[in-house]
Symmetry: C2
Subunit: 652 residues, 2 copies
């Protein structure tokens, strides 16, 4: 896991055999010590956070705490431990080699040693290697972030997405995530380019190869917002559901967009002058972006669909452990397959999570539902804290930091301006179309919640070879520190100042809104969600074809598909779906039926297309249909037989 | 995680900057492909196992299946993929280097490359490196086994140990585990030494440094039994609880003993002739063994005690996620600390698991109880399958196999003879002391269940530098294959043949025994467990001091400790413990009280020491007190108020 290193003196040659086992042991202990340091940091973080939570002290989230402890530990490792490895830093010549092989066998004083290729180093970085051996060992391979730590975090975000709220605000979320991230990227890129030009002009910066594309690269990686701290506080305080959904949805999708954007920019290579605009290369990058995004989306969803089909058509649910195992492995495979195919695993695993929650989750045994939920929650918790802890460490343990105060100041300004030019203009445009406006206070809160976190860090650490990249890494790291501590810590104060309502019980909220909706003096249509048409089309298709195909629920495919498909439809429809039809409300899927009935009643003024009445597609009239989310709420709902009392909520 | 390698041609030099990102990508994809292969193997395994389970086909356990698929995949990788890395295998000279540094910087055609120290290679292994690059990449670092994969398996074994049954058979289990493993090690060592001598004699084996200590080393690593397959079938078929406990207890402790034994033997270094007996070195090894074992035990228990105290004295249980996280991290820290201190992490984590289950588990919130249980169950499941899958792979992907038919035949014979000389004589001796004899059929079944598994493999792969070690590794691997497939597959047949009763419902068993116990025509004392005195002393101490100190249960320390300790005792006793005293039976700890009352009634003929009547130490009269094990059974028991009906079970 860590980059193990291993010291041997000249005594090796004489002792050989009996020593080898001891050295082997020593080797394991080294790995253990490093992992132990992380463990202790995390334990400290947990205890501190418990203390804070116990005293309702909300200025430091666990991620902020993890970062703080990481920082202190980094400081200790850097300045307290000694540097026993004096030899590193020396560059050896080897004339026989013409290229760097993956494994190098070297004969040193008649002993053959095996060396493994790690990376290519720029000449200017060679001196940085004279650092502490402990520092080197505390340094992760960046692939650990992308292959091990990020997938569970992103999957969990997708898996725990409150679908109903998400889909109702889909239009706004997509606008913020796609358009907003692009705006943010360009604005940061432009500002930074201005700063770099100015710095070169005043002699602060040597004329490296700091092109406009590098600035855009920085812009794209800094556009990945990660308001984990803010969301945790929102969750704890039960902040307004719409604000929560907008922010959560934006941050989840925005990560995906920023990652693909960064990738596309990094492979944008204009033929001639790197500062000049090359239309062909630009469109190729745009094409790349779309291709990678769509491909990753398809890859992620496919794995989820396979999981849904497997859990539907096998009786795997009799063995919850096998089911959970399969679910876990297939979801991770979505990530790995996308990576292996040159797509973006993070995007794939995100959409895999959303699809798994939407379809597969319904097929799982109750035991597996709980297991998968708790497993990913736990992995998310651990991975998040490890990453933030590591970020704290990295400030002191990373060897090639380049602190440039002007660049850092520029970046700080840039991310503010970029966030503002993302949120305010887009909110204005969205409010033109939205029936339920996004209030000013929400906009300020969203502006304030533009924290940077794990993704920005992971994107920045992926490439730290050249000096511009090192400067970007250092700056990105400092932005993470600043935003997490300052904005994260100020969330509660900001909420109070903006007078955003907290303590919203989703159930109460639902009832209150339903009541205000049925009051005759209000415009009947005020609560129509802005993404109605998008949602309606999708809902109809999903309800008529996808749900019946992938889960045990919904109308049988035999009734929704054209007649000539009947043989196939009969094969693919779960016997339980027919039961649904007959009983007119299976307890397990009551959420859907309930919803449908409600929608049907409250949106009766919308022209009803002449279609199967069960497969209603006018699912927009009701504002706060309670989410059948992944928590225990879902279980509770499953026990209700509300088929006979469709207006229960509205009557309250 | 994997040993990443990375190919670069000469075009690198010209393209430099823009290519670097792409190569970086390529690098990640490599890691992804390898992980993906593992994922697919595991998914296939799960699906196959489901099919088998669905058809009640018990000849292949999931571990056997994982191994089979691993084998097939290894075959494909070995013979289908090509070998693009022609350069490896060449040894380069570097006269300037006097010893192998941990990080080597090499200037190759004006580019500096960083290489990382991997290991020292014997000259005779250099040719083996001309193999396939894919093979190399599919090879784990052995430290992955010890730091990542084994701890969850071993911890789970400790955490899910049925304490009551375990402690009742403690004497027998300890005998099998300590004495039995030592016998097994020596017998295998002697037989192998004979074989090696004979092979040298007939010229089959060159006179390497194959000393008696090497044979003993092989003996110790082959003494680690791992009847995971057998136990899974036992569990499924509900085989007699005593047989299950004996086998499970033996295999769990035996792993710990074998690991420490292997370590002690590997550092046994007689001064002069390695074949001669050096008493000083021998006693040093014995001392090492005892020291390491005791140290690891202490380390593991300490962490569990710290966890118990933390969960008792903080209100962490209000935040199950933090609680679970702390539990997980502290348990893993027990492992890592032991490793870092030069002790044996596996032993530490085993006893940590047992102690966590005994004390900490009682302090956890219901949510965390479930979470920790399911988390470790899941990790155990995954880790086990990964290891067995990897074992299958290793047969074809490991580069330096030495297949020696005679040695393999010798080993096969040796493990049989060793198992027989462990089980039969020790059972005979134990039966002299046991009131409830171990029947012949149980002995045969235990003999038959001497499977080799993960630990033997992990110990063997830890050192594969010299040729004897390579031969041992190959042989150990084949023994695992043979025993898992043949014995694992034959378990059901063997159970039928030996007419061992299956389908034992622990509850029914309990009632039946209680009934037979109360029948007047039977000897009142037949069911007295053989480890009565050991158990009694331990139980008294545990109940009077440890439980009250570490959990919320038991009599208050103020009543069990001498009076002058009162101030401290009051501080350390949970307020709930006083409640216990007053209510005479807190629902949460009813298991203990129930037990106590029962014991008091059925063992009234044993002289009762003049002590606090609550802190009864005569806890041996009853045979099958139902275990408050970690499953849902524990929850059920918590709901019973049996204080007023102590003889409920006996009356059935």
């Amino acid at each position: 896991m860590f980059s193990h290193t291993f010291y041997k003196g000249n005594e090796m040659e004489t002792l050989k055999k009996y020593v080898s086992v001891k050295d082997e042991e020593h080797f394991y202990h080294q790995g253990a010590v490093e992992l132990l340091i992380f463990n202790f940091l995390l334990i400290l973080t947990i205890l501190t956070i418990w203390l804070f939570k116990n005293h309702r002290f909300r200025f430091l989230h666990e991620t902020g705490g993890a970062m703080l402890y990481g920082l202190v530990m980094g400081l200790i490792i850097r300045y307290v431990t000694k540097s026993p490895d004096v030899e590193s830093g020396t560059v050896y010549e080897c004339e026989k080699l013409k290229s760097g092989p993956s494994t190098l066998l070297i004969n040193i004083t008649n002993q053959v040693y095996e060396y493994q290729y790690k990376r290519e180093i720029s000449h200017h970085n060679v001196n940085g290697h004279q650092g502490n051996a402990m520092l080197q060992k505390m340094t992760f391979d960046p692939s650990i972030f992308f292959n091990i730590l990020l997938p569970p975090i992103i999957f969990h975000a997708g898996y725990s997405l409150k679908k109903r709220h998400f889909f109702r605000n889909l239009g706004s979320i997509l606008t913020y995530a796609f358009l907003g991230t692009a705006i943010s990227c360009i604005v940061i890129g432009l500002i930074m380019y201005g700063f770099v030009k100015a710095m070169v002009h005043i002699g602060q910066l040597k004329q490296w190869e700091f092109h406009f594309t590098d600035c855009l690269f920085f812009g794209s990686l800094m556009s990945a917002t990660d308001p984990v701290t803010v969301l945790a506080i929102f969750h704890e305080l039960n902040v307004d559901t719409d604000l929560y959904t907008l922010l959560f949805g934006e941050s989840v999708l925005n990560d995906a967009v920023a990652i693909v954007l960064t990738h596309s920019i990094s492979i944008y290579s204009p033929k001639e002058n790197p500062n000049a605009f090359d239309a062909a290369a630009f469109f190729q990058s745009v094409g790349n972006f779309l291709g990678i995004f769509a491909g990753s989306f398809a890859m992620g969803s496919s794995y989820a669909v396979v999981t849904a089909l497997l859990t539907k058509f096998t009786k795997l649910c009799e063995f919850p452990m096998l089911e959970t195992g399969l679910f876990f492995l297939l979801s991770w495979s979505a990530f790995l397959s996308a990576e292996a195919a040159g797509l973006t695993g993070i995007v794939a695993v995100l959409f895999c999570g959303v699809t798994q929650a939407h379809y597969t989750y319904n097929n799982l045994s109750p035991d597996s539902k709980m297991r998968t939920k708790q497993l990913f929650e736990f992995m998310n918790f651990l991975a998040e804290n490890v990453i933030f802890c590591y970020m704290g460490l990295a400030l002191f343990t990373f060897q090639n930091h380049i602190f440039n105060p002007l660049f850092i100041f520029g970046a700080l300004m840039a991310i503010f301006v970029a966030r503002a030019s993302n949120i305010y203009p887009l909110s204005f445009l969205l409010n033109l179309g939205r029936k339920q406006k996004i209030p000013r206070t929400f906009q300020h809160m969203m502006m304030f919640s533009g924290l940077r976190g794990a993704i920005a860090f992971a994107l920045a650490i992926r490439d730290t070879d050249s000096q511009p990249k090192q400067m970007m890494f250092t700056t990105a790291l400092l932005m993470v520190f600043f935003t997490v501590w300052v904005f994260g810590g100020g969330t509660t104060a900001m909420l109070t100042w903006l007078q955003i309502r907290v303590g919203v019980d989703p159930d109460e909220d639902l009832k209150a809104r339903a009541a205000s909706q049925s009051a005759p003096n209000l415009d009947k249509n005020t609560t129509k969600a802005e993404s109605a048409w998008l949602f309606r089309i999708w809902y109809g298709f999903d309800h008529k074809y996808l749900k019946p195909l992938l889960t045990h629920a919904g109308p049988p495919l035999t009734s929704t598909l054209p007649e000539w498909c009947n043989p196939v439809a009969r094969l693919l429809t779960s016997p339980r779906a027919y039961g649904d039809q007959l009983k007119d409300g299976d307890t397990v899927y009551i959420i859907n039926n309930d919803e449908l009935t409600e929608n049907y009643e409250s949106s009766a003024h919308i022209p009803v297309p002449a279609q199967d009445s069960t497969a209603s597609i006018q699912a927009t009239g009701k504002e706060d249909i309670q989410e059948g989310d992944l928590g225990l709420g879902g279980y509770k709902l499953q026990l209700q037989h509300t088929a006979g009392q469709p207006q229960k909520n509205s009557l309250a």
